[in-house]
Symmetry: C2
Subunit: 130 residues, 2 copies
């Protein structure tokens, strides 16, 4: 993987926040919408940008698409993700995202998709994402 391509992925704030979140755990699109408070199309396009360049991959889980970092990233990517995670500890944008992520996942019981379920059956009060 060319180093420059990695940095091109990292040089947008939305993508940086996405990758930072993914360095903690896989997430589906609706989670990103909730955590980053950004419209679906914006999230989706940045995810596509990352996917096309191999920084993330996806698996379908029912109606949801779960995004995750690659299982065996090339060393340049792995090292940069380590660096990113380290640097993010000090910058409030990222710590705030983490807090929102925890909150968003709190309503998840078990597998990821649970908290995205339509829910009318279960609680009948919330919209799709937690």
């Amino acid at each position: 993987m060319r180093l420059i391509e990695i940095y091109k992925c990292l040089c947008d704030e939305t993508r940086l926040r996405i990758l930072h979140l993914l360095s903690h755990r896989p997430l589906c699109v609706c989670h990103f919408q909730a955590i980053l408070r950004a419209p679906q199309v914006k999230i989706s396009k940045h995810l596509a940008y990352l996917r096309e360049r191999g920084l993330v991959h996806t698996r379908r889980e029912g109606a949801w698409i779960v995004y995750a970092l690659p299982a065996n990233p090339p060393p340049e990517l792995a090292e940069n993700m380590r660096c990113l995670q380290d640097c993010c500890r000090e910058q409030t944008v990222f710590t705030a995202d983490l807090r929102r992520m925890v909150k968003a996942l709190a309503s998840c019981s078990g597998p990821l998709a649970e908290c995205c379920a339509p829910a009318p059956k279960r609680r009948g009060r919330k919209t799709a994402h937690a």
Copy 2:
């Protein structure tokens, strides 16, 4: 220093090569021209971009401007520079630059500016940069 600003600096190949070279030693503009084989204006503008964002600083040395990494960089920058230097070892663009740097500096005797000196007095055969 905001992380995103650092990545914006890293996401252009010319700037990446410049920073990589600087992670080894300070250099003046004419060195970059020679090593990167790029026109003066291109080098100069990318250096300005980096300077305005605090990734490099300059000192004048006679007619030359010597660019260097900051002496006490903020931790985010220091860590990313470490990461960069590490990753560059494997990518040919950067190793080739290093080779050209060594060659360009070979004709330097002592302080940096020496190899940029007009030289008619000393050897009278080369143009400004080595």
